[in-house]
């Protein structure tokens, strides 16, 4: 007669996993950008996942995707930032000595909102962030947050496995 607790939880989770309705126009805009992105990247690119659209609410949506193997022990990771108002964007992290000049991101289309950079990374756990217009720090809303060291600006974490990163 009464459901076990596990069954109730399972039913709730099933309900929570139901797709959420999204404005079709928004869907189309995002898919157009992704199509442009796919065209601009290496032909062997495999898109593992696309960041949740929730990030749009903070004026930028960030994607991280595995592109292709760069060697026997490294993976090319593509970092993508949608930042319509940005004039410059830099990718900074443990992998480039936190040097804003080392990895400038480039728009995929002239005056387009999608910025991209590809970085070869060996397996490991890395902290990173985006520096927009030389002064605004932006963490990746679709990636785990790095621990706060009281530095006053957020960072994200990417973990690279032997086969892929996230």
């Amino acid at each position: 007669m009464f459901e076990r607790e596990e069954q109730v939880v399972e039913r709730i989770i099933t309900l929570l996993r139901q797709p959420v309705g999204i404005d079709p126009a928004l869907d189309r805009r995002v898919m157009d950008e992704i199509a442009a992105l796919r065209t601009a990247t290496h032909s062997g690119t495999v898109w593992r996942w696309v960041a949740p659209l929730a990030g749009l609410a903070v004026a930028a949506t960030v994607l991280v995707a595995v592109a292709r193997s760069a060697g026997p022990s490294t993976q090319d990771l593509q970092f993508v930032l949608v930042a319509p108002q940005a004039a410059t964007v830099s990718l900074v992290g443990d992998f480039n000595d936190w040097d804003a000049a080392r990895t400038p991101m480039r728009p995929l289309r002239a005056d387009g909102p999608v910025w991209s950079a590809v970085v070869p990374l060996a397996p490991g756990r890395y902290h990173y962030a985006f520096l927009v217009n030389g002064s605004r720090w932006l963490a990746d809303p679709a990636a785990p947050a790095a621990s706060d060291d009281g530095f006053g600006a957020p960072s994200s974490v990417v973990t690279v496995t032997g086969g892929r990163g996230t």
Binding site: V9, I13, D97, D99, P123, R125, D149, T159, T161, G162
Partner: protein, 201 residues
């Protein structure tokens, strides 16, 4: 006492000379950070994560004392991680272990993971830290990762973390998401690949 201070300053100066990236640090942070790097090097701990933490604080314009404190804290965590994981632990494992400890995992959990998994522990430890960062209580995160670590691949652990984050984003409580998704990941791994069912979006 004075001799020890001079000795420490000498080592710090040598470390600065050996590591040009220290020049990017604020002058007030340079010598203390160099001293931490030197101590870590002498203790056989990885130095690169410490330097990266100092560079991160510097580019973010953190106060020098915060930068030094963060580097010292990380050096301590790396040392505790090595005690728990063993002297043969790889630098990447120690770095991930330090993150897990910082997230609140106990050294005993790290030691259990070492016993449970023959493969490198970098990804399990990173997933543990990331789950806690997502709001999963540390005990729930540790139980889930321990359940999976002995039998699943790194990629499955990453997928488990994504599933938990997805469920949290859809409104599940973090603890429930971790508890409910761990057996699913385990079963998916145990099942033949061809028979595995795709997850719902």
């Amino acid at each position: 006492m004075r001799f020890a201070a001079v000795l420490a300053l000498t080592f710090a100066t040598q470390a600065q000379a050996q590591e040009p990236r220290l020049e990017r640090l604020d002058s007030a942070a340079r010598a203390p950070v160099a001293a931490v790097l030197d101590s870590a090097r002498a203790a056989g701990l990885p130095v690169e994560p410490l330097l990266q933490r100092a560079l991160e604080g510097t580019i973010k314009h953190a106060a020098p004392d915060r930068v030094v404190a963060a580097v010292r804290r990380l050096a301590g965590d790396l040392g505790r991680a090595r005690e728990a994981l063993g002297v043969s632990a790889a630098p990447a494992e120690l770095e991930a272990g330090a993150a897990a400890l910082r997230a609140g995992a106990s050294p005993a959990v790290l030691a259990q993971l070492r016993r449970a998994r023959r493969q490198p522990l970098t990804v399990p430890l990173a997933v543990l830290a990331d789950l806690v960062a997502s709001g999963v209580p540390v005990d729930s995160a540790a139980s889930a990762v321990l359940m999976l670590a002995g039998s699943v691949r790194d990629a499955d652990l990453i997928e488990f973390r994504r599933a938990v984050e997805r469920d949290i984003a859809l409104g599940a409580s973090p603890a429930t998401a971790a508890t409910a998704d761990a057996p699913t990941s385990l079963n998916a791994t145990a099942r033949p690949r061809s028979a595995a069912q795709p997850r719902r979006p």
